[in-house]
């Protein structure tokens, strides 16, 4: 027996809507990664270390700041920043945070090399560089916090917790 054209049209409509509903339900657009609390804590921790480093540089008499006196801490902090770059680059859709951490690394290495070359660090440069790192780490932290979404804006089934 053949169904009437009316019923057949209704069934076809239903099937199309069912398929679209199925597709739309599982479809959420994602342009940024989920907020990562561990990365945020890491940014705060490394930023604090850098600030402490500059505090100690500025507390040291400007005529007594040879590179060797600070080399160990330069290497330690560089390792921390590299770890931050790796962590950011391992996350999908995370281009901006990765670029910010790369800028931080680039400037840290530049200032380390300058200190090594001149074997001193002037008050003027140290103060300006310290403030620059405060802004850079603040940018890194803000970029991470911006990824914190309200529960309504997350796809509960797909997003990581």
């Amino acid at each position: 027996m053949r169904s009437s054209p009316y019923i057949s049209r209704r069934l076809r409509h239903f099937a199309v809507l069912f398929v679209v509903a199925f597709a739309v339900n599982g479809c959420a657009i994602k342009l940024v990664p989920d907020y990562d609390g561990v990365t945020f804590e890491e940014i705060i921790k490394v930023g604090k270390k850098v600030d402490r480093f500059y505090g100690d540089v500025l507390e040291t008499k400007s005529t007594d700041r040879p590179y060797q006196k600070f080399s160990e801490r330069y290497v330690e902090i560089e390792t921390d920043i590299r770890s931050l770059v790796t962590r950011n680059s391992a996350r999908a859709l995370n281009e901006e945070s990765m670029q910010i951490s790369e800028i931080i690394l680039k400037l840290w290495v530049k200032y380390k090399d300058n200190h090594k070359l001149k074997d001193t660090y002037s008050d003027g440069n140290a103060k300006l560089d310290r403030n620059r790192f405060i802004r850079l780490f603040s940018s890194a932290a803000s970029a991470e916090v911006a990824k914190k979404l309200d529960p309504d804006d997350k796809n509960a089934e797909k997003d990581s917790k």
Binding site: A28, E96, S97, I100, L107, G124, K127, L128, D153
Partner: protein, 107 residues
Amino acid sequence: MAFDTGEVLDGMLGAAAGILSKEWPSVRACVETAWEDERDAIEAIAQARLTGEIDDDDVKSQLADEKDTLSAALLVCKVKGKVAAQKAANAAIKVLANAIKAALKAL
């Protein structure tokens, strides 16, 4: 069947526009703050040069580093813009999903 394409599209557009108008001020404020911080930093470099704390080569190097620092601040605004776009798109999809569900119930 209760599925008015025009009405659904209007609803999707309304949802997306509502989210964008709510989120946009935060993106704009982010760009404004980045510029204000940059202005302060450049003033500090100029001041340090005037007081003799840094020399001309230092100024050149400091200004080059400011380019990178401003880029980093603007990258934050880019993330905020992407978050706003994501929220708007998903609000529109939610309207579509609800309209389809309602149409299916009516069948």
